[in-house]
Amino acid sequence: MIDAGRFIRLILLLLPLFYWAALIDYIIVFTTNDPLARRLARPLLIFALVANVVYFLGFTFYFEHLPFVNLFQVLGAIGFAIAAIYLWVESRARTPHTGPFILTLVLVFQVLNTVFPKLDREVPEVLRSTVFNLHVSAAILGYSSFAVAAVYGLLYLLQYRVIRNKSFGLVFQRLPSLDILDHMNLVASSTGFLFLSIAIVAGVWWSHVVFGGVKVDPKVLVAMLTWVIYGLALFGRQFVSWRGPRMAYSSLFGFLVILFSLFAVNFFMTKFHVFVS
């Protein structure tokens, strides 16, 4: 019989490979529009996602906690959520041509998760709570949505430049219209904002339960800043015609702040927040 721990390690090693295969196929679809590659794209991505779910379930049962404890595990989960969100978006927008851009981000996150594994049962006591799990899950979904929004923002700016400069090449042909890209950005930003709000409320609640008050660390500040940026962008879009390129720049800026929050603040720390150390 296969050792469960080794099996989980094996899937973790294979996951980047599965996402890589899907990414390569999406790149072939983007560049050549090959019918066979088009037929294979979704099944390959679904296969990678199913393998990821198997990994999550296996990890949770074997190590007795969700794999959301350190930065890299959170990144892996964000990668998974981005890929899942993308699959849904693709079925709605009916074009596979934004796949290469989104899946590149997914692959980067998944590689980081695999290269820096944390396969043990150690979980800081303060992190063992339902409210904490809600906080983390909501934050992951929120950040994933913002990542998707940022990619659509970037693609909007790319297509915007291409059309304005009248350079009608592959990008012009393959990318969806500005209207669709703007709409996708809005949907993803709004979803992200909703989940980040839930994450913040759950975080504050959890902090009250564990510490008896709100602890402020750099991460909390950056999260609040992110919330304000997206809040302003969405408010601006609704009330002061903050659309098109401005909305695209806002979601890119917001995501850069998130990346800063995840990497720069965590640079010298292994845990997600400082106050646990």
């Binding site: 969806p176 219209s177 500005l178 015609s241």
Partner: protein
């Protein structure tokens, strides 16, 4: 008997000649009926760029009469057929397939020809000049035409300035439904462009022109509203797409006008098409955010790109046509008496062998030999009169062709992939 094609197209005959031999639907039906003494089956394809008769002639010598009836009566031949081209058998099939793929069209790969082939088939059905051969010929032509457009990029991208503008607008707005259009000037190019936009349900449609009469006439034709020239700036805040096509010697839409409009548009994109020479829209508007301006040069660039792309697809489409012509000729050859008799015997033989195998256990070993002989004789005798009758069928006789085709159909002698592609009129 032979399959022949005689016709003229935009490359062999000038417009005044093509006009004279263009047939409306009713004219085509009666022309085909008039040709009936000499033709067995026929298809008359008449579009603005070609008039072609595909026919199965009972006697090749009758071709002269067909040409006289269909063409020379309409224009003076001066004793020459300079405008006409003709070919026979496999070349006819190849020509029709190339036509259906848009390879022979004035605009390479254009889509309309498929509908025109379908209409021609309908007309032939009405005139009762379709038999097995022409049914197959028309349905396979439609099939090849569709394959060319789905399997290659022969029909890809806009091939006119007006279409290029529409495609670009769709890259900004996705759907044009409900997007307002302002036509500045009442020029012909602008009207054509507006027509394409309106066909995609772009509404409302406003027209501004210095002379109101012309604008009103166009508004009546296309279904729009006219606005006063002085209201031009205000209209920029209402519509999403502007098509400018005036004959003014200077620009009529200046950056200030657009800047003010953009403030009131709350960031919504504005799509400007400038079809005028000299230009109507100041290129300086390019500096403004979410303003997309395209002049004739830009649009022509788009057209040239897609024309070049279509040209690159020609070899692939020719290859596809060759494949399909070979398939068609194989099917046609199978309608000769020899192949039909052979296939009929094979079909019966395979039933005989299958039944013997199925029932082998029910007979003793010593009886099997007798059964083999008995069944062979039975099949041979059953087929004897049919074989003799089929041998009598003269290859090339149209009536014989129908009978042979019926035998193939009744006994299902065609492999599945060789069978009919269905009704081309569907």
């Amino acid at each position: 008997m032979g399959l022949v094609l005689v016709g003229l197209n935009h490359e062999t005959a000038p417009l005044p000649v093509r006009e004279r031999v263009a047939f409306s639907k009713d004219e085509a039906v009666s022309a085909l009926q008039e040709l009936k003494p000499w033709i067995n089956q026929a298809l008359l394809l008449s579009t603005c760029n070609r008039t072609e008769l595909y026919a199965l002639l009972a006697d090749p010598a009758d071709l002269a009469r067909v040409k006289e009836t269909l063409f020379f009566r309409k224009f003076k031949s001066n004793g020459t057929d300079g405008y006409l081209y003709e070919c026979a058998n496999a070349d006819v099939v190849r020509h029709l397939f190339r036509v259906a793929c848009g390879l022979d069209s004035m605009v390479l790969g254009e889509q309309e020809i498929l509908g025109q082939v379908k209409n021609a088939y309908e007309i032939s059905r009405q005139a009762e000049t379709v038999g097995t051969l022409f049914h197959r010929l028309a349905s396979q032509a439609m099939h090849v035409g569709k394959r060319a457009r789905t399997e290659t990029q022969i029909g890809f991208g806009p091939i006119s300035v007006a279409f290029a503008a529409v495609e670009l607008a769709e890259k900004v707005f996705q759907k044009l439904e409900g997007r307002g259009v302002l036509l500045v000037g009442a020029g012909e190019n602008g009207a054509l462009c507006a027509e394409h936009l309106l066909a995609r349900n772009a509404r409302p449609f406003l027209i501004a022109n210095r002379t109101l009469e012309r604008a009103e006439a166009l508004a009546r034709d296309l279904g729009g509203e006219t606005i006063a020239w002085k209201d031009l700036a205000r209209a920029l805040t209402v519509v999403d797409i502007v098509v400018a096509t005036t004959g003014a010697p200077h620009t009529v839409i200046q950056p200030d006008m657009v800047r003010d409009a953009m403030k009131k548009r709350e960031g919504k994109p504005l799509f400007l098409v400038d079809l005028a020479v000299p230009r109507d829209i100041d290129p300086e508007v390019d500096r403004l955010q979410s303003v997309f301006r395209f002049d004739l040069d830009a649009l022509k660039g788009v057209v040239e790109t897609s024309v070049a792309r279509r040209r690159k697809e020609v070899p692939a489409v020719e290859h596809l046509v060759t494949d399909e012509v070979e398939g068609f000729m194989r099917w046609w050859d199978s309608l000769a008496s020899g192949p039909v008799i052979r296939d009929l015997h094979q079909a019966f033989e395979s039933v005989r062998v299958h039944e013997l195998e199925q029932n082998a256990k029910r007979f003793k070993d010593e009886d099997r030999q007798q059964l083999e002989v008995f069944s062979l004789n039975l099949v041979r005798k059953l087929l004897m009169s049919a074989s003799l009758e089929l041998k009598e069928q003269k290859d090339g006789d149209p009536a014989a062709l129908e009978r042979l085709a019926a035998v193939r159909r009744i006994f299902r002698l065609d492999a599945k992939d060789e069978q009919d592609d269905g009704d081309p009129s569907v």
